[in-house]
Protein backbone atom coordinates (compact mmCIF):
# COMPACT_ATOMS: atom_id res chain seq x y z
CA UNK A 1 0.00 0.00 0.00
CA UNK A 2 1.23 3.45 -0.79
CA UNK A 3 1.83 6.08 1.81
CA UNK A 4 1.70 9.78 1.19
CA UNK A 5 5.44 10.37 1.11
CA UNK A 6 5.28 13.32 3.48
CA UNK A 7 4.87 12.01 6.97
CA UNK A 8 6.40 8.72 7.95
CA UNK A 9 3.37 6.52 7.95
CA UNK A 10 5.15 3.24 7.48
CA UNK A 11 4.54 2.63 11.17
CA UNK A 12 1.14 1.39 10.21
CA UNK A 13 2.59 -1.48 8.23
CA UNK A 14 5.60 -2.10 10.37
CA UNK A 15 3.65 -2.49 13.59
CA UNK A 16 1.01 -5.21 13.34
CA UNK A 17 -0.29 -4.23 16.75
CA UNK A 18 -1.50 -0.81 15.68
CA UNK A 19 -4.97 -2.03 14.80
CA UNK A 20 -5.44 -4.02 17.99
CA UNK A 21 -4.09 -1.12 20.04
CA UNK A 22 -6.51 1.16 18.23
CA UNK A 23 -9.51 -1.06 18.85
CA UNK A 24 -8.58 -1.23 22.53
CA UNK A 25 -8.77 2.56 22.71
CA UNK A 26 -5.11 3.59 22.29
CA UNK A 27 -5.12 7.24 21.29
CA UNK A 28 -1.61 7.14 19.80
CA UNK A 29 -2.60 4.28 17.49
CA UNK A 30 -5.67 6.26 16.46
CA UNK A 31 -3.45 9.21 15.65
CA UNK A 32 -1.24 7.06 13.41
CA UNK A 33 -4.25 5.85 11.45
CA UNK A 34 -5.57 9.41 11.33
CA UNK A 35 -2.29 10.78 9.97
CA UNK A 36 -2.23 8.07 7.33
CA UNK A 37 -5.77 8.63 6.09
CA UNK A 38 -6.61 12.28 6.75
CA UNK A 39 -5.30 13.91 3.59
CA UNK A 40 -6.51 11.28 1.10
CA UNK A 41 -9.98 11.36 2.66
CA UNK A 42 -10.14 15.16 2.60
CA UNK A 43 -8.91 15.12 -0.97
CA UNK A 44 -11.60 12.61 -1.92
CA UNK A 45 -14.36 14.61 -0.19
CA UNK A 46 -13.09 17.88 -1.63
CA UNK A 47 -13.16 16.40 -5.12
CA UNK A 48 -16.77 15.35 -4.59
CA UNK A 49 -18.20 18.50 -3.03
CA UNK A 50 -15.69 21.21 -3.95
CA UNK A 51 -15.47 22.86 -0.54
CA UNK A 52 -12.46 22.61 1.71
CA UNK A 53 -14.14 23.41 5.01
CA UNK A 54 -17.08 21.12 4.41
CA UNK A 55 -14.74 18.36 3.26
CA UNK A 56 -12.68 18.55 6.44
CA UNK A 57 -15.83 18.67 8.55
CA UNK A 58 -17.17 15.53 6.88
CA UNK A 59 -13.86 13.70 7.28
CA UNK A 60 -13.53 14.59 10.96
CA UNK A 61 -17.07 13.35 11.54
CA UNK A 62 -16.09 10.05 9.91
CA UNK A 63 -13.03 9.74 12.17
CA UNK A 64 -15.15 10.49 15.24
CA UNK A 65 -17.60 7.73 14.36
CA UNK A 66 -14.69 5.38 13.57
CA UNK A 67 -13.41 5.99 17.11
CA UNK A 68 -16.86 5.28 18.53
CA UNK A 69 -16.89 1.91 16.74
CA UNK A 70 -13.21 1.14 17.27
CA UNK A 71 -13.86 -2.23 18.91
CA UNK A 72 -15.39 -3.59 15.72
CA UNK A 73 -12.20 -3.40 13.67
CA UNK A 74 -9.51 -6.03 13.37
CA UNK A 75 -8.05 -5.19 9.99
CA UNK A 76 -6.80 -2.00 8.43
CA UNK A 77 -8.72 -2.48 5.19
CA UNK A 78 -11.96 -2.60 7.15
CA UNK A 79 -11.06 0.73 8.77
CA UNK A 80 -10.21 2.28 5.46
CA UNK A 81 -13.45 1.04 3.85
CA UNK A 82 -15.45 2.33 6.78
CA UNK A 83 -13.89 5.79 6.49
CA UNK A 84 -14.38 6.08 2.75
CA UNK A 85 -17.96 4.85 2.92
CA UNK A 86 -18.80 7.25 5.76
CA UNK A 87 -17.26 10.16 3.85
CA UNK A 88 -18.99 9.19 0.62
CA UNK A 89 -22.39 8.96 2.36
CA UNK A 90 -21.95 12.34 4.02
CA UNK A 91 -20.97 13.88 0.70
CA UNK A 92 -24.09 12.42 -0.87
CA UNK A 93 -26.22 13.91 1.90
CA UNK A 94 -24.61 17.27 1.43
CA UNK A 95 -25.05 17.20 -2.36
CA UNK A 96 -28.68 16.20 -1.95
CA UNK A 97 -29.20 19.05 0.46
CA UNK A 98 -27.44 21.39 -1.90
CA UNK A 99 -29.68 20.24 -4.73
CA UNK A 100 -32.72 21.05 -2.66
CA UNK A 101 -31.30 24.43 -1.80
CA UNK A 102 -30.48 25.14 -5.41
CA UNK A 103 -33.92 24.10 -6.53
CA UNK A 104 -35.61 26.30 -3.99
CA UNK A 105 -33.33 29.21 -4.61
CA UNK A 106 -32.31 28.94 -8.21
CA UNK A 107 -32.96 32.63 -8.59
CA UNK A 108 -30.68 33.25 -5.68
CA UNK A 109 -27.86 30.76 -5.95
CA UNK A 110 -26.60 29.50 -9.24
CA UNK A 111 -23.53 27.36 -8.69
CA UNK A 112 -23.45 26.77 -12.43
CA UNK A 113 -22.38 23.15 -12.04
CA UNK A 114 -24.29 19.94 -11.64
CA UNK A 115 -23.25 17.96 -8.58
CA UNK A 116 -20.27 15.77 -9.31
CA UNK A 117 -21.27 12.26 -8.37
CA UNK A 118 -18.36 10.42 -9.95
CA UNK A 119 -17.59 8.67 -6.68
CA UNK A 120 -15.67 5.78 -8.20
CA UNK A 121 -13.68 8.04 -10.51
CA UNK A 122 -12.75 10.32 -7.62
CA UNK A 123 -11.82 7.31 -5.53
CA UNK A 124 -9.57 6.09 -8.33
CA UNK A 125 -8.03 9.53 -8.61
CA UNK A 126 -7.41 9.67 -4.85
CA UNK A 127 -5.72 6.27 -4.92
CA UNK A 128 -3.67 7.23 -7.94
CA UNK A 129 -2.44 10.31 -6.13
CA UNK A 130 -1.49 8.15 -3.14
CA UNK A 131 0.42 5.77 -5.36
CA UNK A 132 2.29 8.58 -7.07
CA UNK A 133 3.19 10.28 -3.81
CA UNK A 134 4.17 6.92 -2.32
CA UNK A 135 6.37 6.08 -5.27
CA UNK A 136 8.38 9.19 -4.61
CA UNK A 137 9.93 7.28 -1.74
CA UNK A 138 11.26 4.61 -4.06
CA UNK A 139 13.28 7.07 -6.12
CA UNK A 140 16.98 7.72 -5.53
CA UNK A 141 17.43 10.27 -2.78
CA UNK A 142 18.31 13.30 -4.90
CA UNK A 143 15.59 12.70 -7.48
CA UNK A 144 13.05 12.37 -4.70
CA UNK A 145 14.31 15.53 -3.06
CA UNK A 146 14.03 17.50 -6.28
CA UNK A 147 10.50 16.29 -6.95
CA UNK A 148 9.35 16.90 -3.39
CA UNK A 149 10.75 20.39 -3.40
CA UNK A 150 9.23 21.25 -6.71
CA UNK A 151 5.85 19.55 -6.26
CA UNK A 152 5.16 19.43 -2.56
CA UNK A 153 6.82 22.64 -1.51
CA UNK A 154 6.47 24.34 -4.88
CA UNK A 155 10.01 25.57 -4.88
CA UNK A 156 11.18 27.16 -8.11
CA UNK A 157 13.85 25.46 -10.21
CA UNK A 158 16.20 28.33 -9.43
CA UNK A 159 15.71 27.82 -5.67
CA UNK A 160 16.39 24.09 -5.95
CA UNK A 161 19.46 24.76 -8.05
CA UNK A 162 20.78 27.03 -5.35
CA UNK A 163 20.02 24.52 -2.58
CA UNK A 164 21.84 21.73 -4.40
CA UNK A 165 24.57 23.94 -5.90
CA UNK A 166 23.65 22.77 -9.38
CA UNK A 167 22.83 24.67 -12.56
CA UNK A 168 19.16 25.25 -13.34
CA UNK A 169 19.50 23.21 -16.52
CA UNK A 170 20.86 20.33 -14.50
CA UNK A 171 17.96 20.50 -12.06
CA UNK A 172 15.47 20.53 -14.92
CA UNK A 173 17.10 17.49 -16.45
CA UNK A 174 17.17 15.59 -13.15
CA UNK A 175 13.56 16.50 -12.57
CA UNK A 176 12.36 15.12 -15.87
CA UNK A 177 14.47 11.99 -15.40
CA UNK A 178 12.98 11.51 -11.93
CA UNK A 179 9.48 11.90 -13.32
CA UNK A 180 10.24 9.35 -15.99
CA UNK A 181 11.50 6.91 -13.37
CA UNK A 182 8.51 7.58 -11.20
CA UNK A 183 6.20 6.66 -14.03
CA UNK A 184 8.01 3.41 -14.65
CA UNK A 185 8.26 2.32 -11.05
CA UNK A 186 4.74 1.35 -10.25
CA UNK A 187 4.39 -2.39 -10.25
CA UNK A 188 1.44 -4.65 -10.77
CA UNK A 189 1.40 -6.05 -7.27
CA UNK A 190 0.63 -2.68 -5.70
CA UNK A 191 -2.03 -1.96 -8.26
CA UNK A 192 -3.76 -5.21 -7.51
CA UNK A 193 -3.91 -4.40 -3.79
CA UNK A 194 -5.42 -1.02 -4.52
CA UNK A 195 -7.96 -2.45 -6.90
CA UNK A 196 -9.13 -5.13 -4.49
CA UNK A 197 -9.72 -2.55 -1.83
CA UNK A 198 -11.53 -0.24 -4.21
CA UNK A 199 -13.81 -3.08 -5.20
CA UNK A 200 -14.51 -3.81 -1.56
CA UNK A 201 -15.47 -0.18 -0.97
CA UNK A 202 -17.52 0.33 -4.07
CA UNK A 203 -19.58 -2.80 -3.62
CA UNK A 204 -20.89 -1.67 -0.26
Amino acid sequence: MANNGISDTNQLYNDPNIISRFSQGDDAAFRIIFNEQLRPLCYFAHKLIGQKEEAEDIVSTAFASLWERRQQFSHFNAIKSFLYIAVRNHCYDLLKHRNVVNKAEDVLISTGTTPDIAVDARLLQTELLQIILGELNNLPERSRQILEWSFLEEKKTSEIAELLSLSEAHVRMEKSRALFQLRKLLNDKQLLEVVLLLLAILKK
Binding site: F34, C42, H46, A118, A121, L128
Partner: protein, 389 residues
Protein backbone atom coordinates in the same frame (compact mmCIF):
# COMPACT_ATOMS: atom_id res chain seq x y z
CA UNK B 1 -24.25 2.89 -3.12
CA UNK B 2 -25.01 3.27 -6.78
CA UNK B 3 -21.74 2.93 -8.68
CA UNK B 4 -21.96 5.12 -11.74
CA UNK B 5 -20.20 2.39 -13.70
CA UNK B 6 -18.82 -1.07 -13.13
CA UNK B 7 -15.24 -0.56 -12.07
CA UNK B 8 -12.75 -2.72 -13.87
CA UNK B 9 -9.87 -4.10 -11.82
CA UNK B 10 -7.68 -2.79 -14.59
CA UNK B 11 -8.69 0.80 -14.26
CA UNK B 12 -6.12 2.05 -11.78
CA UNK B 13 -3.41 0.55 -13.92
CA UNK B 14 -4.93 2.03 -17.06
CA UNK B 15 -5.23 5.49 -15.53
CA UNK B 16 -1.71 5.25 -14.22
CA UNK B 17 -0.50 4.38 -17.70
CA UNK B 18 -2.46 7.25 -19.19
CA UNK B 19 -1.01 9.61 -16.64
CA UNK B 20 2.53 8.45 -17.34
CA UNK B 21 2.05 8.64 -21.10
CA UNK B 22 2.45 4.91 -21.71
CA UNK B 23 0.72 3.23 -24.65
CA UNK B 24 -2.34 1.13 -23.85
CA UNK B 25 -2.86 -2.30 -25.36
CA UNK B 26 -6.15 -2.98 -27.11
CA UNK B 27 -7.87 -4.58 -24.09
CA UNK B 28 -6.90 -1.66 -21.92
CA UNK B 29 -8.02 0.84 -24.53
CA UNK B 30 -11.39 -0.86 -24.78
CA UNK B 31 -11.87 -0.95 -21.01
CA UNK B 32 -10.98 2.73 -20.84
CA UNK B 33 -13.41 3.62 -23.62
CA UNK B 34 -16.21 1.78 -21.87
CA UNK B 35 -15.44 3.50 -18.61
CA UNK B 36 -15.32 6.92 -20.25
CA UNK B 37 -18.63 6.29 -22.00
CA UNK B 38 -20.33 5.19 -18.78
CA UNK B 39 -20.77 8.68 -17.35
CA UNK B 40 -19.67 12.18 -18.33
CA UNK B 41 -18.09 12.64 -14.91
CA UNK B 42 -15.60 9.88 -15.60
CA UNK B 43 -14.39 11.85 -18.61
CA UNK B 44 -14.01 14.96 -16.44
CA UNK B 45 -11.79 13.06 -14.01
CA UNK B 46 -9.85 11.40 -16.83
CA UNK B 47 -9.19 14.74 -18.51
CA UNK B 48 -7.94 16.12 -15.22
CA UNK B 49 -5.54 13.21 -14.68
CA UNK B 50 -4.03 13.35 -18.18
CA UNK B 51 -3.99 17.15 -18.38
CA UNK B 52 -0.27 17.30 -17.63
CA UNK B 53 -1.08 19.60 -14.69
CA UNK B 54 -2.22 16.86 -12.35
CA UNK B 55 -1.38 16.02 -9.59
CA UNK B 56 0.76 19.14 -9.24
CA UNK B 57 -2.39 21.25 -9.60
CA UNK B 58 -3.87 19.66 -6.46
CA UNK B 59 -0.78 19.39 -4.29
CA UNK B 60 -1.03 22.83 -2.77
CA UNK B 61 -4.50 22.04 -1.53
CA UNK B 62 -3.42 18.56 -0.46
CA UNK B 63 -0.54 19.86 1.61
CA UNK B 64 -2.63 22.60 3.16
CA UNK B 65 -4.80 20.02 4.96
CA UNK B 66 -3.69 20.49 8.55
CA UNK B 67 -3.07 17.39 10.65
CA UNK B 68 -3.31 19.26 13.94
CA UNK B 69 -6.39 21.37 13.17
CA UNK B 70 -8.28 18.33 11.96
CA UNK B 71 -7.14 16.19 14.86
CA UNK B 72 -8.54 18.87 17.20
CA UNK B 73 -11.74 18.86 15.21
CA UNK B 74 -12.07 15.07 15.56
CA UNK B 75 -11.43 15.29 19.30
CA UNK B 76 -14.10 17.98 19.61
CA UNK B 77 -16.59 15.81 17.77
CA UNK B 78 -15.77 12.81 19.94
CA UNK B 79 -16.23 14.98 23.04
CA UNK B 80 -19.50 16.33 21.60
CA UNK B 81 -20.88 12.83 21.17
CA UNK B 82 -20.37 12.09 24.84
CA UNK B 83 -22.88 14.85 25.43
CA UNK B 84 -25.46 13.15 27.68
CA UNK B 85 -22.91 12.90 30.48
CA UNK B 86 -21.47 16.31 29.78
CA UNK B 87 -24.90 17.92 29.59
CA UNK B 88 -25.87 16.55 32.95
CA UNK B 89 -22.70 17.85 34.52
CA UNK B 90 -23.25 21.10 32.75
CA UNK B 91 -26.77 21.52 34.08
CA UNK B 92 -25.53 20.82 37.55
CA UNK B 93 -23.02 23.57 36.96
CA UNK B 94 -25.74 25.87 35.65
CA UNK B 95 -27.94 25.10 38.62
CA UNK B 96 -24.99 25.80 40.88
CA UNK B 97 -24.45 29.14 39.17
CA UNK B 98 -28.08 30.10 39.67
CA UNK B 99 -27.94 28.95 43.28
CA UNK B 100 -24.79 30.95 43.82
CA UNK B 101 -26.56 33.83 42.18
CA UNK B 102 -29.57 33.61 44.47
CA UNK B 103 -27.27 33.05 47.42
CA UNK B 104 -25.32 36.09 46.32
CA UNK B 105 -28.38 38.28 46.16
CA UNK B 106 -29.50 37.04 49.55
CA UNK B 107 -26.03 37.51 50.98
CA UNK B 108 -25.87 40.97 49.51
CA UNK B 109 -29.24 41.90 51.03
CA UNK B 110 -28.10 40.65 54.42
CA UNK B 111 -24.96 42.69 54.09
CA UNK B 112 -26.77 45.86 53.13
CA UNK B 113 -28.82 45.56 56.28
CA UNK B 114 -25.91 44.80 58.53
CA UNK B 115 -23.15 46.90 57.04
CA UNK B 116 -24.55 49.83 55.10
CA UNK B 117 -21.07 51.20 54.27
CA UNK B 118 -20.38 48.10 52.21
CA UNK B 119 -23.49 48.70 50.12
CA UNK B 120 -22.05 51.98 48.94
CA UNK B 121 -19.16 50.13 47.34
CA UNK B 122 -21.60 47.80 45.66
CA UNK B 123 -23.38 50.47 43.66
CA UNK B 124 -25.55 48.32 41.44
CA UNK B 125 -26.55 48.58 37.81
CA UNK B 126 -29.93 47.44 36.52
CA UNK B 127 -30.09 45.06 33.56
CA UNK B 128 -31.03 46.18 30.06
CA UNK B 129 -34.68 46.34 29.01
CA UNK B 130 -36.86 46.36 25.92
CA UNK B 131 -36.54 49.53 23.90
CA UNK B 132 -35.20 51.16 20.75
CA UNK B 133 -35.05 54.34 18.74
CA UNK B 134 -37.00 54.47 15.50
CA UNK B 135 -35.71 56.87 12.86
CA UNK B 136 -38.34 57.77 10.28
CA UNK B 137 -37.87 58.62 6.61
CA UNK B 138 -37.84 62.34 7.34
CA UNK B 139 -35.06 61.94 9.88
CA UNK B 140 -37.23 62.44 12.96
CA UNK B 141 -36.82 59.96 15.80
CA UNK B 142 -39.24 58.21 18.14
CA UNK B 143 -38.03 56.65 21.39
CA UNK B 144 -39.83 53.36 21.84
CA UNK B 145 -38.93 52.76 25.49
CA UNK B 146 -42.05 53.92 27.23
CA UNK B 147 -44.75 54.16 24.57
CA UNK B 148 -48.07 52.37 24.98
CA UNK B 149 -49.71 50.21 22.32
CA UNK B 150 -50.84 52.25 19.32
CA UNK B 151 -49.78 54.10 16.21
CA UNK B 152 -46.25 55.47 16.31
CA UNK B 153 -45.98 57.00 12.84
CA UNK B 154 -47.83 57.27 9.57
CA UNK B 155 -45.58 57.61 6.53
CA UNK B 156 -47.21 57.77 3.08
CA UNK B 157 -49.93 55.27 3.87
CA UNK B 158 -47.79 52.92 5.95
CA UNK B 159 -48.51 52.92 9.65
CA UNK B 160 -45.93 51.89 12.22
CA UNK B 161 -47.76 50.39 15.19
CA UNK B 162 -46.43 49.40 18.59
CA UNK B 163 -48.11 46.27 19.91
CA UNK B 164 -47.11 44.55 23.15
CA UNK B 165 -43.50 45.66 22.97
CA UNK B 166 -42.92 45.01 19.27
CA UNK B 167 -43.17 47.33 16.31
CA UNK B 168 -45.01 46.29 13.17
CA UNK B 169 -46.06 47.94 9.92
CA UNK B 170 -49.55 48.18 8.47
CA UNK B 171 -49.75 48.96 4.79
CA UNK B 172 -53.10 50.02 3.32
CA UNK B 173 -51.77 49.29 -0.17
CA UNK B 174 -51.18 52.87 -1.25
CA UNK B 175 -47.44 52.93 -0.64
CA UNK B 176 -45.69 53.99 -3.81
CA UNK B 177 -42.66 55.94 -2.71
CA UNK B 178 -39.93 54.09 -0.87
CA UNK B 179 -39.35 55.39 2.61
CA UNK B 180 -36.51 53.99 4.71
CA UNK B 181 -36.76 53.57 8.46
CA UNK B 182 -34.02 52.60 10.88
CA UNK B 183 -34.38 50.87 14.20
CA UNK B 184 -31.48 51.31 16.60
CA UNK B 185 -30.96 49.79 20.02
CA UNK B 186 -28.50 51.54 22.31
CA UNK B 187 -26.44 49.62 24.85
CA UNK B 188 -28.78 48.15 27.44
CA UNK B 189 -31.77 47.75 25.12
CA UNK B 190 -33.09 45.04 22.86
CA UNK B 191 -36.11 45.12 20.59
CA UNK B 192 -38.49 43.00 18.51
CA UNK B 193 -39.63 44.27 15.13
CA UNK B 194 -41.87 42.89 12.40
CA UNK B 195 -40.77 44.05 8.95
CA UNK B 196 -43.36 45.12 6.35
CA UNK B 197 -43.20 41.65 4.69
CA UNK B 198 -43.96 39.88 7.98
CA UNK B 199 -40.37 38.78 8.63
CA UNK B 200 -39.51 38.98 12.32
CA UNK B 201 -36.38 40.65 13.58
CA UNK B 202 -34.86 40.78 17.06
CA UNK B 203 -32.19 43.36 17.75
CA UNK B 204 -29.72 42.73 20.54
CA UNK B 205 -28.18 45.68 22.41
CA UNK B 206 -26.14 48.18 20.39
CA UNK B 207 -27.51 47.06 17.05
CA UNK B 208 -29.41 48.53 14.13
CA UNK B 209 -31.40 47.66 11.04
CA UNK B 210 -32.35 49.86 8.07
CA UNK B 211 -35.28 48.77 5.89
CA UNK B 212 -37.94 50.23 3.58
CA UNK B 213 -41.48 50.62 4.95
CA UNK B 214 -42.65 48.54 1.97
CA UNK B 215 -40.64 46.00 -0.08
CA UNK B 216 -41.72 47.09 -3.54
CA UNK B 217 -38.66 45.98 -5.59
CA UNK B 218 -37.73 42.59 -6.99
CA UNK B 219 -35.89 41.68 -3.83
CA UNK B 220 -35.92 42.54 -0.13
CA UNK B 221 -32.81 44.24 1.20
CA UNK B 222 -31.90 45.41 4.70
CA UNK B 223 -28.68 46.73 6.26
CA UNK B 224 -27.70 45.77 9.79
CA UNK B 225 -25.06 46.25 12.45
CA UNK B 226 -24.52 44.59 15.82
CA UNK B 227 -26.41 41.35 16.55
CA UNK B 228 -29.70 40.54 14.86
CA UNK B 229 -31.82 37.40 14.75
CA UNK B 230 -34.07 36.94 11.70
CA UNK B 231 -37.07 34.78 10.98
CA UNK B 232 -37.53 35.61 7.32
CA UNK B 233 -40.92 35.12 5.76
CA UNK B 234 -40.68 32.89 2.72
CA UNK B 235 -41.28 34.59 -0.61
CA UNK B 236 -39.70 32.83 -3.60
CA UNK B 237 -40.41 35.82 -5.85
CA UNK B 238 -38.47 38.19 -3.62
CA UNK B 239 -35.21 36.88 -2.20
CA UNK B 240 -34.08 38.48 1.04
CA UNK B 241 -30.60 39.97 1.44
CA UNK B 242 -28.99 41.12 4.65
CA UNK B 243 -26.10 43.46 4.12
CA UNK B 244 -23.46 44.12 6.76
CA UNK B 245 -22.01 47.17 5.04
CA UNK B 246 -18.47 46.66 3.85
CA UNK B 247 -18.16 43.22 5.44
CA UNK B 248 -20.64 40.62 4.21
CA UNK B 249 -23.87 39.91 2.46
CA UNK B 250 -26.20 37.08 3.42
CA UNK B 251 -28.70 35.82 0.84
CA UNK B 252 -31.77 33.98 2.12
CA UNK B 253 -35.16 32.61 1.31
CA UNK B 254 -37.48 31.50 4.11
CA UNK B 255 -35.15 30.87 6.99
CA UNK B 256 -34.12 31.57 10.61
CA UNK B 257 -30.64 32.80 11.41
CA UNK B 258 -28.59 34.97 13.70
CA UNK B 259 -25.94 37.48 12.62
CA UNK B 260 -23.43 38.71 15.16
CA UNK B 261 -21.51 41.54 13.55
CA UNK B 262 -20.23 43.68 16.43
CA UNK B 263 -17.13 45.43 15.22
CA UNK B 264 -15.37 44.80 18.56
CA UNK B 265 -15.75 41.02 18.16
CA UNK B 266 -13.05 39.14 16.24
CA UNK B 267 -15.47 37.42 13.84
CA UNK B 268 -18.66 38.25 12.02
CA UNK B 269 -20.74 35.15 12.80
CA UNK B 270 -23.76 34.03 10.81
CA UNK B 271 -25.49 31.05 12.46
CA UNK B 272 -28.21 29.19 10.62
CA UNK B 273 -31.09 27.66 12.61
CA UNK B 274 -33.42 26.62 9.76
CA UNK B 275 -33.48 26.79 5.97
CA UNK B 276 -30.53 27.90 3.89
CA UNK B 277 -28.42 31.01 3.52
CA UNK B 278 -25.52 31.96 1.33
CA UNK B 279 -22.85 34.04 3.00
CA UNK B 280 -20.71 36.24 0.77
CA UNK B 281 -17.67 38.19 1.91
CA UNK B 282 -14.99 39.81 -0.22
CA UNK B 283 -15.48 37.47 -3.17
CA UNK B 284 -15.67 34.29 -1.08
CA UNK B 285 -18.94 32.57 -0.42
CA UNK B 286 -20.36 29.56 1.33
CA UNK B 287 -23.76 27.94 1.59
CA UNK B 288 -24.56 27.29 5.21
CA UNK B 289 -26.41 24.31 6.63
CA UNK B 290 -28.62 24.51 9.74
CA UNK B 291 -26.62 24.13 12.93
CA UNK B 292 -23.51 25.74 11.48
CA UNK B 293 -21.86 29.13 11.86
CA UNK B 294 -19.96 30.94 9.13
CA UNK B 295 -17.18 32.94 10.78
CA UNK B 296 -15.86 35.80 8.70
CA UNK B 297 -12.46 37.03 9.82
CA UNK B 298 -11.01 40.48 9.39
CA UNK B 299 -9.54 39.60 6.01
CA UNK B 300 -12.94 38.41 4.75
CA UNK B 301 -11.96 34.74 4.97
CA UNK B 302 -14.89 32.44 5.77
CA UNK B 303 -14.66 29.49 8.15
CA UNK B 304 -17.61 27.19 8.78
CA UNK B 305 -17.92 25.62 12.24
CA UNK B 306 -20.70 23.69 13.91
CA UNK B 307 -22.81 25.71 16.33
CA UNK B 308 -24.89 25.26 19.45
CA UNK B 309 -27.92 27.24 18.32
CA UNK B 310 -29.43 27.29 21.81
CA UNK B 311 -26.34 29.09 22.97
CA UNK B 312 -26.24 31.46 20.00
CA UNK B 313 -29.91 32.43 20.51
CA UNK B 314 -29.76 32.66 24.32
CA UNK B 315 -29.72 36.48 24.17
CA UNK B 316 -33.03 36.52 22.31
CA UNK B 317 -34.54 34.19 24.89
CA UNK B 318 -33.46 36.37 27.78
CA UNK B 319 -30.31 34.62 28.95
CA UNK B 320 -26.55 34.74 28.92
CA UNK B 321 -25.26 31.32 27.98
CA UNK B 322 -21.54 30.84 28.20
CA UNK B 323 -19.80 27.61 27.34
CA UNK B 324 -16.09 28.05 27.71
CA UNK B 325 -16.22 31.78 26.99
CA UNK B 326 -13.15 33.84 27.90
CA UNK B 327 -13.33 36.60 30.51
CA UNK B 328 -13.05 39.18 27.73
CA UNK B 329 -15.89 37.60 25.74
CA UNK B 330 -18.11 37.58 28.81
CA UNK B 331 -17.27 41.19 29.62
CA UNK B 332 -17.99 42.37 26.07
CA UNK B 333 -21.48 40.83 26.37
CA UNK B 334 -22.02 42.43 29.77
CA UNK B 335 -20.80 45.84 28.64
CA UNK B 336 -23.40 45.91 25.88
CA UNK B 337 -26.27 44.75 28.06
CA UNK B 338 -25.50 46.69 31.24
CA UNK B 339 -24.08 49.65 29.34
CA UNK B 340 -20.88 49.61 31.32
CA UNK B 341 -17.25 50.30 30.68
CA UNK B 342 -15.00 47.40 31.71
CA UNK B 343 -11.54 48.11 33.06
CA UNK B 344 -9.01 45.33 33.68
CA UNK B 345 -6.38 45.74 36.33
CA UNK B 346 -3.11 43.97 35.60
CA UNK B 347 -2.65 40.32 36.54
CA UNK B 348 -6.21 39.08 36.03
CA UNK B 349 -5.84 35.44 34.95
CA UNK B 350 -7.21 34.02 31.71
CA UNK B 351 -10.37 32.30 32.86
CA UNK B 352 -13.18 30.60 31.03
CA UNK B 353 -16.82 30.62 32.08
CA UNK B 354 -19.69 28.21 31.60
CA UNK B 355 -23.33 28.47 32.61
CA UNK B 356 -26.68 29.98 31.78
CA UNK B 357 -27.86 33.07 33.62
CA UNK B 358 -30.93 35.25 33.16
CA UNK B 359 -30.34 38.65 31.59
CA UNK B 360 -32.95 40.08 33.97
CA UNK B 361 -30.76 40.37 37.04
CA UNK B 362 -28.83 43.35 38.31
CA UNK B 363 -25.15 43.45 37.50
CA UNK B 364 -23.96 42.86 41.08
CA UNK B 365 -26.09 39.74 41.33
CA UNK B 366 -24.85 38.45 38.02
CA UNK B 367 -21.23 39.05 38.96
CA UNK B 368 -21.66 36.90 42.04
CA UNK B 369 -22.58 34.09 39.70
CA UNK B 370 -19.44 34.67 37.66
CA UNK B 371 -17.07 33.45 40.29
CA UNK B 372 -13.64 32.29 39.35
CA UNK B 373 -10.35 31.93 41.18
CA UNK B 374 -8.31 35.08 41.01
CA UNK B 375 -11.02 37.21 39.42
CA UNK B 376 -12.80 39.93 41.43
CA UNK B 377 -15.16 42.68 40.40
CA UNK B 378 -15.83 46.17 41.65
CA UNK B 379 -18.53 48.53 40.40
CA UNK B 380 -17.44 52.15 40.38
CA UNK B 381 -19.12 55.46 39.66
CA UNK B 382 -19.93 56.27 36.06
CA UNK B 383 -21.05 52.76 35.04
CA UNK B 384 -17.57 51.38 35.34
CA UNK B 385 -16.76 47.77 36.19
CA UNK B 386 -13.25 47.08 37.41
CA UNK B 387 -11.96 43.52 37.10
CA UNK B 388 -9.05 42.82 39.42
CA UNK B 389 -6.91 39.99 40.73
Amino acid sequence: MQPTSEISPLLVRILYKCWSGAVLNSDEQQALNEWLAATPQNKVVYDEIVSGQWPVSDLQYYNSISYNDNWDRVQQKIAGKERPVKRLRFWWAAAAVILMLLGGVWFWKQQTQLKPEKAVQLADIAPGTQGAILTLGDGSTVVLDSLRNGEVANQQGVKAVLLNGKLLYENNGSANTIVYNSMTTPRGRQFHLVLPDGSQVWLNAQSSIRYPTAFTGKDRRVDISGEVYFEVKKDEQKPFFVNVPGRAEIAVLGTDFNIKAYTEEPYLNTTLVNGAVKVVAKGQSTILRPGYTAQIGEQGNIKVVSADTEQVLAWKNGAFYFDGATLQEVMRELSRWYDIEVVYEPGVPDTRFGGKISRDVNLAGLLRGLQATGVHYRIEQGRKLVVYK
